[in-house]
Subunit: 402 residues, 2 copies
Amino acid sequence: MAAPPHETRPAGPGRALPDTQQGMRRRNLARVMHTVSAEGPLSRAAVASHIGLTRAAVSTLVDELIRSGLLEELGPERPGRVGRPGSALAVSGRGPAGIGAEVGVDHLAVYAVDLRGEVRARAVRHVANRGRSPEPVVGELSALIRRVVADAEREGLWPAGLAVAVPGLVAGDARTVVRAPNLGWHRTDLGALLPAGYPLAVDNEANFGALAELWLGEGTPRDFLHVSAEIGIGGAVVVDGRLLRGTRGFAGELGHVPVRPEGPPCACGGRGCLEQYAGEEAVLRAAGLEPGGDRVGLLAARATEGDEAVRRALSEAGRALGIALTGAVNLLDPEAVVLGGELAGVAPWLLPSLEAELAGRTALPAVPVSVSRLGPEGPLLGAAHSVVRGVLDDPAAVAERG
Amino acid sequence: MAAPPHETRPAGPGRALPDTQQGMRRRNLARVMHTVSAEGPLSRAAVASHIGLTRAAVSTLVDELIRSGLLEELGPERPGRVGRPGSALAVSGRGPAGIGAEVGVDHLAVYAVDLRGEVRARAVRHVANRGRSPEPVVGELSALIRRVVADAEREGLWPAGLAVAVPGLVAGDARTVVRAPNLGWHRTDLGALLPAGYPLAVDNEANFGALAELWLGEGTPRDFLHVSAEIGIGGAVVVDGRLLRGTRGFAGELGHVPVRPEGPPCACGGRGCLEQYAGEEAVLRAAGLEPGGDRVGLLAARATEGDEAVRRALSEAGRALGIALTGAVNLLDPEAVVLGGELAGVAPWLLPSLEAELAGRTALPAVPVSVSRLGPEGPLLGAAHSVVRGVLDDPAAVAERG
């Protein structure tokens, strides 16, 4: 079973497993998987020396993981080394796959990612979802999921779990969307609408985006604040390599930090929230552009051409982000701020004013701001990888199912 | 040695100790101490049944703790019970004590707290410290510390460690004050100025206030946001029973969350920070009162009498607090907000506008706000108790010193 990302999970592999003989075996299976995943291809002897177990113990574990289809042997290592040639082990490209799905305000997307982290099947559909009721939207998403699962199965993969990113607040049950104001959904049980038969975890898109940054970003620290923007502005807080979830699972709502307390009303119930200044629609309005189409691409193109209204709108959005982030940095003291989502595409025009606010509002060294390389793919990759990480963290549970 | 409060320490007793025979003995000593501290007086048999060890094993541990002066025997339990009467064990009122000290903008204070949690000696001195250089201030504090230690020693106690609360940012070394704008201190090594010979931990006053709330408050949840105010407004974030410290140890700076981004300049380098609206001096100014004397007492008295200017000033401060807390609640999703420090004394006039802002800026149920019963004593109690908790968490380390 893929562990639901709603759990606050230990940083190390399988540390939550019980302290019994059986628990120890499962933890050791996880150690072998994580070692081969991070360092492979590796011989059994190399795995044994990495994790500090005897070669005989590792062989037993490896045999079990090969039988379950989680590891594969690449054949004998190249000759020329001392001793009997060992067979190199690699994470299987045919075993379980993580299915990541995303409900966006203007798109639906599904990826299948194998244990090696490669995207092996995908489907994307551009569709305006704002104001549509959940049933037809999730119906279309389910059709995409079935198509991606079928494609993955043709490649010898099978779905180990389904993780769905949504632009809204998700309850602690990891299936109920409590509020997604930009879709217009309230208390929607996605579990009842999605295809049955896979372990399911629904989560906020910014949370999955932050996990993608943590797992796949280059040089991402273990304490950072992730800002993710599509129509809304999401945020996620990572502390010591774990998502800060909050009591109800709603932490990280940077988009609803008040920037100007008497500002325009917001769908969240507040006034003058960051989203009212730096959300995509606010920026388009300020730039004098109509919503619709590839709006972020349009903003970037106009800004590149030197359109003053667009540049001013992006600079003002950066300023609002800087004000909200000043508050967040004062509260959280993160090592870095990472900008992701669609926002990453216009970062060159946001960053100067954003960084000026951050630096000008403190006498201390300002926190560094970086731009995600994953961009708008982050939440989808984070969702799919959360299932893959669940497999690496407890391969025995998957082997029992597979 | 008292564990420095700057460590992020495991929730359970002594869980950070190594996984060896010696580590297990130390963990078990901690379990015995915590059990007797929380549930005592208890017989050896009751302790054994509480922690799931044999009575023989517990007897060995208890004997060691009695020899070290951490536990004491109260004599035979009262008759009438079944079986041979056991001698009831209690935490010693004569062993190690936690010395807590506080540098305030207008006072210095020192408490000695025994392992039972009782304040056994104290010294408080009202003195205007703003703008004074650290040497004379810490010199006066050191004199108070020596007096309190001498008083405690006369009661048969000995200092197990010294914890000092300061109104400013403290570096990860738990001795250097990086910035205390309301004192005017910058990069001050208190370790070099305080009396030598005790394990030392300097920390932000709001952090110690939050720990006091967690340990001594009634019904305080394990996830909460603590607001503490004296001249400045401090904050501390507790997540799952642990302080959120941030990368540099600066997390929780609620006082410098921007409330109105174009507002008045602040000593932190920013503009329109919460402190500029809800700090004590801002409130006094808005109320038309002169600084000096028992200002919070004066505000409370005037507000009680119906002074409209004072009531309006407090209501506006509550409003600013509500705006800053809306941002903090969006980011952290705490179970509760606890108002402590001097602020607690005027809470009745702050709360209505504060709660109205919190409730009016979200469509979700608003987070509950409570008022600390510890009030301005919180930081000092938190400091002294952090040393006591360090002893309970690793009694063996103290026994070796004592």
